[in-house]
Every structure is written in C-alpha cells, then in structure tokens.
Symmetry: C2
Subunit: 204 residues, 2 copies
C-alpha cells in the first residue's frame, strides 16, 4: 500500500507511463517533485503546456517547429536543398545534426513501414517526399540525392526498400552505412552487423 | 545542437533536473510526450498541479496528506498509538507499511542531522516528536516505544544518537536492525554491514 494520498498516487501513475520509468522510479520522482520548491513544479507544468501549444509539424519536412511556417532548417538558405536526408522521427534529426556530417535538408517520415503494427506506406509522409522531389524538378534547386537514415531494423529495411523502388531513376538514393560502431571491439559485434560491415567494405 | 525548438529545449532542461534523469533520457521523455496524445500531457500537468495544491503536511506526524486535519494513519483508531516509528521522509513510511511488520503510528523528521549540509537538530521535527510524547503522558495512550527507522548512514546514526539521548528514561527506544539483507550472499556484503550484523546477532 501507499501513503493513501490520491493526488500523489495519480502523479506516480502518470509518471510511470513514461518510457523507461517504472513504478519505483515514478515514486522517487513524485517525492522529489513534492520536496522541491514549488517553482520547479510550475516550470515543469508550463513547459509541458508550451510544448503542446507551440510546437507543430513543419509543413515541408514534418519535423517539429514553433515557427508559423517552415522550420529553421527548411528556411535556412545556407543549407544544401539538393540533398534530402530521410529520417523516421524528428529526434533523429538531432543525431544527424550532432554528427556534423550533413549540410542538406531533412524529411521526417513520422514512422516506418510495419505491417505488424498496422503502419502502411500511406500512413507515412512518403507521398509528401515524392511531391517535394517533383516540385524541386521545376526549380533551380533540383533534389539530386536522397539519403535514407532509417533505423537498422526490419521496419527500417522495409521502408528503405519501398522508398528506393518508388524513387529509382529519379534521384540518387543512398542509405547510411551499417557496420561496426566506432570504438567497438569486433569480439562484441553480433553476426548480422559484422555481415553487413563485410558486405559494405570500402577500399582504403 | 538541438532541433532549435525553444519550448522543447525548455522541457528537456526541466526534465533533466529530476533525479536520475540525464540530458539524453530527458530528450527521450520530451519526444515521447510530444508524440503521445495530448490528453497524456494534460493529465500529467493536472497531476503536477494537484500534488502542489492538495498535499500538505499532517500536523501530527508531518507525513503528506490531503485531509484537512490529520493524515489517514494518524486518524486511524485501529492503529497502536503507543508505538511511534520515526522516519526521515514520508516516502520511508511507504517502505515500512509495505513490510507489514508495523501497526503503530509514524513521525516524519523531514530529514536527518547533517552538519555538513547545515541541517541542525532544530531544523528537524524533533521538538514536535518530544511534544507528542509529552502530550501522550497525560492521556491513556501513553507512548511506550519509539522505533528509529533511519537510514543506515552517518546522518542516520547521528540523528539516532541525538534522539536516543533526548528521550532516554522517558520511553523505550529501539532502532531497526542493520545486517545482511534477505536473499543476499555473504560473499557480497561489505565489511561494515557484516560487522554490524555480527554485533547485533540474535539467539536462535
């Protein structure tokens, strides 16, 4: 049993719905919030509210933005709009940006094809990707390359195959390399990863 | 760099102030909240608000309660009010209750003596504990035993010593046993715990 304080139990129950937060962690967080000064709790409430009120999808790339129109990356004229990196979720853009290895623009699919979860190609932003490429063909910034930065799992593979078939002949389509992560001992690599790393070997 | 969405950054920054939640976990949680349906976010906001608005300290034991007066445990006539279990925080009451081994009432000190953190005996609810015991002496439910269920660390030890000196001669004072946790191999026990377990050995 708990302390029999209904609002505390409710907070624990809501917090434990977050990914990776179990019942015990949720209790610890709830007690921390109770003990912390009240401004922390109100700042957290405000942040939750603002995120819901202010953030919407960028109409071009479907990432998150607070702008009235396109997101900061889409509207940045210094970026190379002839190269589109396709990702599953807006959070993936963070990762690619952090790598510092890409200066093009993005397209967020908002998921990956997964028949088991009932996610079909038409549920994703694939037709919008096609429309962007078609639209660019009549402009001076024609899309030359689509880089697929999708997860290295069954859903990512399926989605990559689907998109590459759809776009083949129109643009150059590449997929980020799968192989041994930097700083990793080959002893600890699973056989599928090592298999892919061997297939995708490069000349040195 | 991030997605350059200020309200998202603010939510990540607030979430990462929670104990055990680093920057990466906070980002994962924030993206989850953004993706989840909006009712989850509003329920979480509401729960945070309610916890702040409705919960206050019980005037008797200083645990958390939503009641106008005493908390459910203090006002429960079926509990043995001659035995007070002293804990550092309200969350400790949860643990003791879950053990099912105690049917008395509680007293929350709201911390432990810690000169290094500037926490002196007068910052804790020690005088209120003394007052409760004194008040009980003129009633039919005179407090007979004070069980100290404090943390097994330096602060807990100091606090236990302080309270036991203060109350000595008035009531029976005990402290929960420190020893080998249930289900633990002696191989993995540190020497201080094993030392205490030997000191506190019991006849079988």
């Amino acid at each position: 049993m708990s302390l029999r304080v209904p609002s505390l139990d409710r907070l624990v129950s809501e917090l434990s719905k977050l990914p990776g937060i179990g019942e015990k962690t949720a209790q610890r967080l709830a007690f921390y919030i109770l003990r912390a000064d009240s401004s922390f709790s109100s700042r957290l409430q405000e942040a939750l509210f603002d995120v819901r009120e202010r953030i919407h999808s960028c109409p071009t790339c479907f990432s998150y933005t607070e702008n009235d129109d396109e997101c900061d990356i889409c509207s940045d004229l210094h970026r190379d709009s002839t190269s589109i990196c396709v990702v599953e979720d807006p959070s993936d853009i963070n990762r690619v940006e952090n790598s510092g290895a890409f200066r093009g623009i993005y397209h967020v699919l908002q998921g990956a094809i997964s028949p088991l979860d009932g996610i079909q190609p038409e549920d994703l932003r694939i037709k919008e990707l096609l429309a962007r490429i078609e639209l660019s063909e009549s402009s001076e910034n024609k899309v030359k390359e689509v880089i697929l930065a999708l997860d290295a799992d069954l859903e990512g593979d399926t989605t990559a195959l689907y998109i590459s078939k759809l776009l083949s002949g129109r643009v150059r389509i590449t997929r980020i390399a799968h192989g041994v992560p930097f700083g990793t001992d080959i002893d600890y690599i699973d056989k599928r990863t090592l298999g892919r790393a061997l297939e995708n070997r490069v000349e040195i």
